[in-house]
Symmetry: C2
Subunit: 429 residues, 2 copies
């Protein structure tokens, strides 16, 4: 028998290891086809997963410098949150109360609240202030088990302020372990100084912002809020043509508040993702399916905004689509950083199984960010982003609400978070 190989980290003591598999988005009947290993263990070395398997086998095969005891918990891949707006200064709890009293999202926006109120906050903030706030939020993401986020700009809306936001995201990537995939969202809204001059603002985004963003390598994707009150299909077509020309991938806020045909356009242009989709038409679903676009669904947003219409997730899955689930973390329409919470509401509102939610919050989300070869599953060769959940099995991930059950987080092969209060004592089983 060969002498045991010495590795950095061995994760043992889990009741279950649950993971999707592969490097491509899983849709249709495949969405819930995860791998579940009872008493599964993980061998980790040099930041990578070296082996996944039954605990006795791995214990025999490897000698580890560090052993992490999962204490009867469940191992899943680190969450990938494919739609967040994490660079802002100032929260918007007042708007939340206005909605409680009956005002709508659009009424608040038209009165100068909404996105434009966050734009005022970001413009007034220094780079250092924005960085400090972003780092705090990344720490919270990590404590909730999220190891990768898509991070949008979009509260600057001038060349200078959009660059400031993207530079802050780049700096955060250098400072901590949560990977931020940067998206330029200059077309988030028309800023106040361009009121009534949308075409001129689109021109500014296309001819000044996009080239500078691309030239400096500050974004991997370009996004647009394609909606009746912001940018129409023609605007989006122009923006996205320019973005593609400059080498950026495409994501789109599509059919969130009205059925504008955003999904069809996202499909036509080969976008990586079409996001929200509460009002997507059957034709839009078919178009997304044919083009292999990942729908990024945000189940808590309509609840937070008190809007009745929810994304037709099951119809999308029946059409073969491979949805991602996301928080849409932002200060206006969803002040939520927790992927477990997003997954649970995906189960509750869309009738997704726990396994389907897990795939949607890891592999599919990673694929929508072009990172499926590297992230989103627990398989040998992938980056070792792993969570230990204080749950006896993966079904608890959506069954239990409102508690942070993330007991430990491994990011890039290192144990970076160990949450306290539930470390001792017996376990629900």
């Amino acid at each position: 028998m060969a002498a045991p190989e010495t590795i950095d980290l061995l994760v043992v003591g889990a009741a279950e290891l649950a993971t999707p598999t592969g490097v491509r988005p899983r849709g249709g009947a495949e969405l819930g086809a995860i791998q579940v290993v009872a008493r599964g263990a993980l061998a980790i070395h040099a930041g990578r997963i070296l082996a996944v398997g039954a605990e006795p086998e791995l214990v025999q095969r490897f000698k580890a410098l560090r052993v992490l005891d999962a204490r009867g918990g469940t191992l899943v891949p680190g969450f990938v949150d494919a739609h967040t707006h994490p660079v802002f200064a100032g929260t918007r709890e007042e708007e939340f109360e206005l909605r409680t009293r009956g005002q709508t999202y659009l009424e608040i926006a038209q009165a100068g609240g909404g996105i434009l109120s966050s734009v005022r906050g970001v413009r007034a903030a220094t780079r250092e202030q924005l960085l400090e706030l972003l780092l705090l939020r990344l720490e919270r993401f990590l404590a909730l088990g999220t190891t990768t986020i898509e991070a949008k700009s979009g509260y600057g809306l001038t060349l200078e302020d959009e660059l400031k936001c993207l530079e802050v995201i780049a700096e955060a990537n250098r400072r901590q372990v949560v990977e931020c995939v940067p998206t330029f969202l200059g077309a988030h809204d028309v800023p106040a100084e361009y009121k009534g001059q949308r075409a001129a603002y689109v021109e500014l985004v296309c001819e000044e912002m996009l080239p500078r963003v691309a030239e400096r390598g500050l974004a991997r994707y370009c996004d647009a809020f394609t909606e009746a009150h912001t940018f129409d299909l023609a605007d989006t077509r122009r923006l996205f043509a320019r973005a593609r020309e400059l080498g950026l991938g495409l994501r789109m806020h599509a059919d969130q508040l009205t059925d504008l045909g955003g999904a069809e356009l996202a499909a036509e242009l080969g976008a990586a993702s079409a996001d929200h989709l509460e009002h997507v038409s059957p034709r839009g679903i078919q178009a997304l399916a044919r083009a292999g676009v990942v729908p990024v669904l945000c189940p808590v947003v309509p609840l937070f905004l008190r809007q009745e219409r929810e994304a037709p997730a099951r119809r999308m899955i029946e059409a073969g689509l491979a949805p991602a689930l996301s928080t849409d973390f932002n200060p206006g329409s969803c002040y939520l950083q927790s992927m477990p919470e997003a997954l649970a509401w995906g189960a509750l509102r869309y009738r997704l199984s726990a396994a389907e939610c897990l795939t949607a919050g890891t592999l599919n989300a990673a694929c929508s960010l072009g990172r499926g070869h590297e992230l989103g599953t627990l398989e040998s060769g992938k980056r070792a982003d792993v969570i230990v959940l204080d749950h006896p099995n993966h079904k608890h991930l959506v069954y239990e609400l409102g508690r942070n059950a993330v007991r430990a987080v491994i990011a890039r092969g290192r144990v970076v978070v160990v949450n306290g209060p539930s470390e001792r004592g017996p376990r629900d089983a």
Copy 2:
């Protein structure tokens, strides 16, 4: 100037202190009339609140053995969860998945799942196992800021097993700081061995269980699941007459699944609370208002069960009622221990303001348990159950979802929980 008085604990550094006031339930327009003190501080001694006021004044007046720095957070009273079923063994995530696939609560119950599956679990568990599980759950309640719960039996349904559950609650009260107000719920369901013999089971509850429970002082309240498929109004009337005779207060699962007239009966019998009330009629609301019964509302339950009908909370408030908000923590219809989450969904689904939710989750809940003179507000003389929230103001309590923002918990005057990950760094403001 007098020399400063020496006290146990001073809480300083808060951005805000927010609390309802008084010792009686606050309803109607009074529900949201909380007291908000900017930079409020607290002086605590011998387990009691000694003074509440502006920080400079308290710092000058008192010399403290320990100072807790709230670091820009918000101080609120410890949460009081007025409706929980915390004594069970075995979780029911499989039923959650069955509902995802379209089965209803009643279909699952009629197939031997539901309450009766937890009854099998409790009967098979030893006292020690149940205690260990309850202590773990109480630790989680505390970490989420809940310092008092109402704790029901009701998964035993034999004399012996109901006593076992109530004894476990009594033992938990001796072992840790979360106060458990015990409620006897022998009339939770008709157990399998009495199938088709409901009258005989009611007889058993009235003539054997209730007298023993009362004689041993194991419960302060008696509850009944008054519903079309369990106990009707006549059963409930008989049970509650006996309970009152034996000195127990009354709580009732009323009008949750159908409008059976439970609210009217709760009012007629002078119950302390009528709980759920999704199907309460206008007449039921009027009856509760006239009798001063506290409606205990559980906003997450219909969402968790995927039932459309929600309690008409605003109509109750307009009628002058003083609602409490609760988790209904239990393994079948709401696997949720977090009061912040219950309050947020109260805001989202019932259109309650943050201030209204705070009163409903503290003072009104305490009053429904007969503990309004002692708990539920931050006022001098009350027991020092206090939470430090990682929030710049109380409005964030309902605005932010999915993160445990409880930074520290003071129970009976002692700092018992300090949650880790957000201790450092700047704050959202």
